[in-house]
């Protein structure tokens, strides 16, 4: 399936050419780092607008986002403008007021395709790598902080068996790694500009909500997650204040 550029009408079949196009033709735009290609491969249409991706509902994977937004509109969204924001005092929370969160923590449904994903992970634990060896080698490269040129050298000098590991250069390895994390679209990086009168500096940020979604979605944390506050008592019946969910604040905001 050819990848369609979200900002213009070009289509690309090879990921390298596509990336180069993104880098050069839309250099001034948001550079959605790391996960761009993967995101596009999974769905044919793409949303790069942070607002749009928030508007999507829970199931980002199966629900295609709105079509790509106009480049200039997007720029306006994240570019820094020093005097546009005026804060309305009437809506700001006052310190003493109690606010309750209606229905917080209430279960309103099941995750689509959850069982499927679960069994996929069991059946093919090393996907997208085609073998355990492929994964282990990649892990060794990355954890050992082997440089890009060294990795390429490793394959070009015939030290590694590209057939059995499934990749033959840093470039193809990177493509595998992008697909490794199924939720990496939550962790996209956005780039913004800060202007302080003298210089213009880039800064990078992620969608905070995406980070929360990402963490809540990890199977690794499943058994530890706490969804509601509770009171704990010790053997003599005294209230224990230990973790956050045993203390008062959580009770105040979520009842």
């Amino acid at each position: 399936m050819p990848s369609k550029c979200p900002f213009c009408r070009r289509k690309y079949t090879r990921s390298g050419a596509y990336e180069k196009h993104l880098r050069t033709a839309h250099a001034g735009l948001d550079i959605v780092l790391a996960s761009t290609v993967q995101y596009i491969n999974m769905e044919s249409s793409v949303s790069h607008n942070p607002d749009a991706s928030e508007r999507q509902d829970s199931d980002c994977e199966s629900d295609p986002g709105p079509a790509g937004s106009e480049p200039d509109e997007f720029c306006r969204d994240i570019a820094y403008e020093s005097d546009t924001e005026v804060f309305d005092d009437a809506t700001s929370p006052s310190a003493g007021k109690q606010i309750h969160y209606e229905g917080a923590g209430q279960v309103i449904g099941d995750v689509d395709g959850f069982e499927h994903e679960y069994s996929n992970l069991c059946d093919d634990p090393w996907a997208p790598f085609n073998s355990e060896q492929g994964f282990k080698l990649a892990s060794w490269f990355i954890e050992g902080k082997v440089s890009k040129s060294r990795i390429n050298q490793y394959f070009s000098s015939g030290l590694g068996d590209a057939e059995s590991v499934g990749y033959s250069s840093m470039h193809t390895l990177e493509n595998h790694l992008r697909l490794l994390d199924p939720y990496s679209q939550y962790l996209q990086w956005f780039e913004g500009q800060v202007e302080d009168g003298q210089r213009t500096l880039p800064f990078f940020y992620r969608n905070a909500l995406g980070c929360v979604r990402y963490l809540l979605r990890q199977i690794a944390y499943r058994d530890d997650l706490v969804y509601a506050p509770r009171h704990e008592y010790d053997s003599t019946g005294q209230r224990i204040y230990a973790e956050m969910h045993t203390a008062d604040w959580w009770w105040d905001v979520q009842v």
Partner: protein, 699 residues
């Protein structure tokens, strides 16, 4: 639902300003362990340029910086803002989709960043409206800051000439710029601040306190004594034995300060022993003050609190504030010092005029009187000018309320952020080509993160016995140690390090210098007291001599970690006799021995410290080859029947002349390592502040 964010600068010429995010739904132990990958980098910001003070252009620039900051954070928080009222459905790992209200609950940063982000002046508390001159008092009733009001207040400020008292307070504390958290829906900005052990206590009050103590010791001529004790501290698990004298250490960091907090009370108590007549009262007060602060610090480290422990903390803090005046004269600023010098000069000049007219025979006496008077006057001036009104002093008063509201304090420590820096920023920076580094930093960590996250997920599947293929399990087993440090649970005491040169009791007697008679007597006593009648050791000396004996050098004791049900720390007690341990002298550690019932020995509750002399395995071939594992110890006895001293709150123990120098006990009765500080030749202080466990058990 809550988010926790963490932010710091990392030093060096190149700086970055990372902001991290994690979720409060994970229990703190899991969230904060570096292997869990639960701390995500949320943003990487450039550092605002540093400005000189007070020029007009800079003032303007500063305003721009503040606005910029405001907008950048507005952008970052925007996604949370949108869902604050309606909530949002989030897929969770248990396959359910609950309605969630993600909100910012905590902002962990050091004080300077906190005030910058809250738009306050440096010397003001982000949580309450405490006036500067009351920072050093223990009042806890100040009004919570209402940042919304500050926002409204700003425009009025410029045109109205008259100010109420209320406005004065606001004016005093407000810096340039707005509170960046103020406009966030459903977030109360004054709740975001979290007390931080590292900066408030270790690098804050302990550091100040050491300055005072140094001044205090100098005044009373005990500096040398302090250094001597400091250098001679015995080892303890997790405690770094100081190798230099206190005054020789030039750099004090968090780790050193924490170490210091664990032993300072004992060291000071020994350094201030046997006060002279006029010193009794000041010494007592100084020790009381240090004791209160150290105890407060110990309590603050508890992982779980009850209302009792919180009440204790409040008591300690009150005590500290009550006694801190003893150190007031050592909080001298340069300005005060100048004033003192000036005053001293003035007095001397006047005296010189007077003294010329006095008969020479009286001069000497008069000079002494004058000197005394002069010193008193200076001291008065110093005490009048100095104060304890600095911000870290005040921040302590929020600790107790914080525990009731947000749980234990340790989990909000800044140190988590330091760990995240290491792997997510600093290592990446080294790998980058230093040009356009920020982009490379954010890029390259993603790869490692993906790999580790997959391993963690697989690991968790393994724990749930999902059907994974054999090679996966095999791989996980091997990588487990690198990703999640799962310590094997050992619950048995283990003897290690056999010495080759001992094969029976006679050899042992020769090596240890304990006479054979005593060994026989003790072995027999041991077997009569501890062993069932059928399995006693032979009482015939010749038979005892024939039993094979092994002498060992190390005993591993699993000790249940404080306030945990299944986490064990391993104490390694060593007894190398006269052999050297790691080329640094022999080690014969202090251990706790269960010697009686709970009610005995006062605060020690039936346990006595003892010096480990030997670890022995005796094979009794007569009764089924059973192996008796015993330890030879030198028991100490408590002075004053184990009551806490009212000066320093520690128990003194001594080695009695008439007591048996060598006792044999079962290694099952050895409970763990003890930390003793030598006071005199045969007297020691039990340092119960060495860790939370000892602190909790000995009082």
């Amino acid at each position: 639902m809550s988010d926790q964010t963490n932010l710091t600068n990392f030093s060096g010429d190149k700086k970055a300003w990372p902001v991290y995010i994690t979720i409060g739904n994970l229990p703190s132990a899991r969230r904060n362990s570096p292997g869990s990958m639960a701390v995500l980098l949320l943003a990487l910001l450039p550092i605002p340029p540093k400005l000189s003070k007070s020029s007009k252009a800079d003032q303007c620039q500063r305003k721009i910086n503040a606005d910029t900051l405001q907008d950048v954070f507005g952008l970052i928080f925007a996604p949370l803002q949108d869902v604050a009222h309606t909530g949002i459905a989030i897929d969770c790992a248990d396959g359910k989709v609950p309605q969630c209200f993600p909100m910012l609950s905590t902002w962990i940063a050091d004080h300077m960043e906190n005030v910058a982000l809250h738009g306050l002046k440096t010397n003001s508390c982000p949580k309450c409206e405490v006036p500067t001159h009351q920072l050093g008092t223990n009042a806890r009733s100040h009004r919570t800051r209402d940042y919304a009001r500050y926002q409204r207040y700003k425009p009025e400020n410029q045109n109205s000439g008259s100010k109420s008292d209320d406005d004065h307070i606001i004016c005093d504390n407000l810096g340039i710029g707005q509170n960046i958290f103020h406009h966030l829906d459903r977030v109360s900005a004054s709740d975001l601040y979290k007390p931080d052990m590292l900066h408030t206590i270790y690098l804050g009050l302990f550091k100040h306190m050491m300055d005072w103590i140094e001044g205090f010791l100098k005044k009373h001529g005990r500096l040398q004594a302090f250094d001597d004790v400091w250098k001679a501290l015995p080892p303890y698990p997790g405690f770094l034995v100081p190798k230099k004298a206190y005054r020789e250490v030039t750099q004090w960091q968090g780790k050193e300060m924490r170490n210091l907090g664990r032993c300072i009370l004992g060291v000071l108590a020994v350094a201030l022993r046997q006060p002279g007549g006029a010193q009794v009262i000041p010494f007592k007060r100084a020790l009381g003050c240090v004791r209160a602060l150290v105890d407060f610090n110990m309590m603050a480290q508890y992982r779980s609190h009850t209302s009792d422990t919180i009440a204790y903390m409040e008591d300690y803090l009150d005590q500290f504030h009550k006694l801190k005046d003893i150190f007031l004269e050592f909080r001298v600023t340069k300005r005060t010092q100048d004033k003192v010098d000036k005053q001293r000069k003035e007095i001397r000049r006047q005296r010189a005029l007077v003294i010329e007219r006095v008969a020479p025979s009286l001069r000497r006496r008069m000079r002494d009187d004058n000197r005394q008077e002069e010193n008193d006057l200076c001291l008065d001036l110093v005490c009048g000018e100095s104060h304890f009104n600095f911000i870290k002093m005040h921040l302590l008063s929020h600790f107790c309320d914080h525990i009731r509201q947000f749980g234990n304090i340790l989990m909000y420590s800044r140190e988590i952020g330091e760990l995240a820096h290491k792997s997510q920023i600093k290592d990446r920076w080294r790998q980058s080509n230093k040009n356009d580094a920020a982009r490379q930093i954010v890029h390259s960590y993603g790869r490692q993160h993906a790999i580790r996250m997959r391993l963690l997920n697989l690991e968790s599947l393994k724990c749930r016995d999902a059907d994974l293929s054999g090679d996966v399990l095999h791989h996980l087993d091997r990588t487990a140690s690198t990703v999640t440090a799962a310590a094997p649970v050992v619950r048995r005491r283990v003897l290690k390090g056999r010495r080759e040169d001992v094969s029976n009791v006679v050899d042992f007697s020769r090596i240890s210098g304990v006479s054979l008679e005593i060994i026989y007597r003790e072995l027999i006593r041991y077997s009569r007291h501890n062993l069932p009648a059928a399995h006693r050791l032979p009482e015939d000396h010749a038979m005892l001599r024939s039993l094979p004996v092994e002498l060992l050098t190390q005993l591993e004791i699993p000790v249940l970690a404080f306030q945990e049900a299944d986490v064990y720390e391993i104490h390694r007690a060593r007894s190398t006799g006269d052999l050297h341990f790691r080329n640094q002298g022999s080690r014969n550690d202090w251990v706790w021995v269960q010697a009686g019932t709970e009610e005995m020995y006062g605060a020690l509750r039936g346990r006595l410290p003892a010096k480990l002399v030997a670890l022995l395995k005796i094979r009794d071939y007569r009764s089924d080859d059973t192996v008796r594992r015993v330890a030879g110890v030198q028991m100490l006895t408590p002075v004053n029947s184990g009551r806490l001293s009212d000066q320093h709150g520690l128990v003194t123990v001594q080695m009695r002349e008439d007591a048996r120098g060598f006792t044999i006990v079962d290694i099952g009765t050895i409970l763990g390592l003890a930390h003793l500080i030598q006071e005199e030749d045969r007297r020691w202080l039990i340092n119960s502040r060495i860790d939370l466990r000892t602190f909790n058990e000995v009082y």
